[in-house]
């Protein structure tokens, strides 16, 4: 039975942000950037299993083949590539200012990392450990998502998303979503893209058609909506960064309830995601 109540709280050092599930699904890794640590929790119970000290992990993710674990160190301007099995540092890149979000090509060859304070999107070749290209994506890029052979990037400063050609790095499309477009997600059936818009002013979640990129509907969500997750009942769980709450949105009606959770909720992992086939990631909600 769902009570929408906090049932337990597990410790971290400072401010936990994004998460990644280990390939064997036994550990939920949570990045604690200012604590310089990666915390490991039981993805079923939330119990703390341990932690590893690594530099400034903000956005994190395993390559689709699980060979590498890539970390965007936003404060320190590093993109660190760790061995996926041992979490030992393999290569450190300094591709721009404030590495923010990341995603990978399905064949695991390339990573795409947004540089929030350089206004660029950078692509790294993980087979040669070299930088492939760096393109001016637009003002203050954040969320990154590989979709249908293209890379979508949220532009906070321009209130929308751009589509980038992953081969040459050219911008092929642009779509307005809302002020402060921050992060982007694809639903389980690959039918809808969601973009969280963090303001200024009215903040919202925009639903888009993943093929045409045209907006389908906008949901006003206060409190700086950030990461989302979709429950099996279709409800969308949304972190309200600046309202210390998680909103649970019914996408049919647009109604939502809120759950007070504590300071700065960021990434959202639902234990039901463990039932998903294939790699479980924060942005591809399948």
């Amino acid at each position: 039975m769902t009570t929408h109540q906090v049932v337990s709280t597990a410790p971290a050092y400072r401010e936990p942000s994004h998460w990644a599930l280990t390939p064997d699904r036994s550990q939920l890794l949570v990045a604690d950037a200012s604590g310089n640590a990666l915390f490991m929790y039981d993805p079923r119970t939330g119990a703390l299993l341990g932690h590893k000290r690594i530099a400034d992990p903000y956005q994190i993710g395993y390559t689709p083949d699980n060979r590498y674990f890539v970390v965007n160190a936003l404060r320190l301007d590093f993109v660190d590539v760790y061995d996926g099995a041992t979490l030992e540092l393999v290569k450190r890149f300094k591709p721009g200012r404030w590495p923010s979000h990341l995603d990978f090509s399905p064949d695991s060859r390339w990573s795409f990392n947004s540089m929030q304070n350089s206004d660029t999107l950078v692509s790294l070749d993980l087979t040669t450990m070299t930088e492939r290209w760096c393109v001016k994506a637009g003002t203050t890029p954040a969320g990154v998502l590989w979709l249908n052979g293209r890379v979508l990037v949220c532009l906070m400063g321009e209130g929308g998303i751009v589509e980038v050609d992953p081969i040459k790095g050219g911008i092929t499309r642009w779509q307005k979503t809302g002020d402060g477009a921050h992060n982007i997600f694809l639903d389980e059936q690959r039918h809808i893209l969601y973009v969280s818009n963090r303001g200024p002013g009215q903040t919202s979640l925009t639903a888009l058609d993943p093929i045409t990129l045209k907006p389908i509907r906008a949901y006003p969500i206060p409190g700086g909506p950030d990461d989302i997750a979709i429950a099996p009942d279709g409800k969308i769980w949304i972190a309200q960064r600046f309202a210390e709450s998680v909103a649970v949105l019914d996408p049919e009606t647009g109604d939502y309830t809120t759950i007070p959770v504590g300071r700065s909720p960021h990434g959202i992992f639902l234990s039901t995601m463990l039932k998903q086939k294939g790699q479980v990631t924060a942005e591809r909600l399948r």
Binding site: R53, I54, A55, P200, F242, E244, R263
Partner: protein, 321 residues
């Protein structure tokens, strides 16, 4: 406490969304989006601290004042100091500078293969015990503040700056933030280094930090109040008033602790006499006591410069061969 914290976040969130972010976006500084919320939170907490201090200390000062003053003109400038220090630009600038330097220092160390520890990583027992962690941070910082304060009474040039704080004859709960900007800068650097070493989280314990600031404000209040048998545990208005007493001004003072008197007991500078002395510094120029904000700052600077010259001269610096 959690619901209060949530209320502050909601207020800060509105402030951020409707007042600060539009400015940042206008000037294309939206990369600071995340930190802008923290700036708002600092202002909200600061404002709340001032309101709570006001709500508690005003009735107490009316109820049991040590002194009654014909007018409170000299207090007015202390109100300005408080607002600038707790709600205005000073805490935000401090936060931004601390963030930048901490980031730079961490990056420098990480590139050399060393990840700076936090207190909880050095003492794993503290993980998940935020109250205890906070108490240890508070003890470390208060210990550091004891020595900063004691040294500010020991060096001629430093006391020339600190005299501004001591010159107030109408000492009230507003007087805690009454400091020369250079003195504030030295304090800032002092805590900066310690904060970097122990990896202090600037915004992890804001409510508790405000509780400590409340103790400091209360200790300056014009109240006939001691904590009786608990006097050794927390700095009371009586204990700190003795430090501000006319007899204690200058380079041979006592009761230097800001929050925990244990440091004064440990280093034999505590004086628990049950007396409520008149405050002020008889040797300080009148401008430091009753001048405007600008006059106080200018006079403090002049005194500092003169004292610095004397200190250099005493060291033989600047003399002709």
């Amino acid at each position: 406490m959690q619901s209060l914290d949530r209320l502050f976040s909601i207020i800060a969130g509105y402030m951020d969304q409707w007042a600060v972010l539009p400015v940042l976006y206008y000037f294309h500084w939206m990369a600071w989006d995340d930190l802008a919320f923290d700036w708002c939170l600092i202002c909200v907490y600061g404002l709340f601290a001032v309101l709570v201090t006001y709500a508690i200390c005003v009735p107490l000062e009316l109820w049991r004042p040590v002194e009654r003053w014909p007018d409170k003109k000299a207090v007015a400038v202390d109100v300005l100091y408080t607002l600038l220090n707790r709600v205005g630009v000073v805490p935000i600038v401090t936060f931004v500078l601390f963030y930048q330097v901490q980031t730079w220092a961490t990056g420098f160390l990480v590139e050399r293969g060393f990840i700076p520890p936090t207190l909880e990583s050095l003492v794993p027992f503290l993980l998940g015990r935020p109250m205890l962690t906070f108490l240890i941070y508070a003890l470390i910082l208060d210990f550091a503040d004891y020595w900063r304060h004691r040294l500010s009474h020991s060096f001629r040039w430093w006391y020339a700056l600190h005299a501004l704080h001591h010159a107030q004859r109408q000492m009230s709960f507003w007087s805690d933030d009454r400091n020369h900007l250079i003195d504030d800068t030295i304090s800032f650097l002092w805590f900066f280094v310690i904060g970097l070493i122990i990896g202090i989280p600037p915004l992890q314990f804001p409510l508790l930090v405000l509780a400590l600031k409340f103790v400091e404000s209360l200790s300056h209040a014009n109240i006939r109040l001691s904590f009786g048998p608990l006097e050794w545990l927390l700095v009371s208005p009586r204990f700190h008033r003795f430090h501000h007493g006319l007899r204690a001004a200058g380079r041979n003072s006592c009761n230097y602790a800001s929050v925990f008197p244990v440091w004064d007991i440990m280093f034999r500078t505590a004086d628990f006499r049950d007396e409520y002395l008149p405050t002020g510094d008889a040797r300080a120029p009148e401008a430091l006591a009753t001048g405007s904000y600008v006059a106080q700052q200018a006079t403090g600077l002049k005194l500092f410069w003169q004292a610095l010259g004397k200190s250099w001269a005493s060291l033989g610096i600047g003399r002709a061969a």
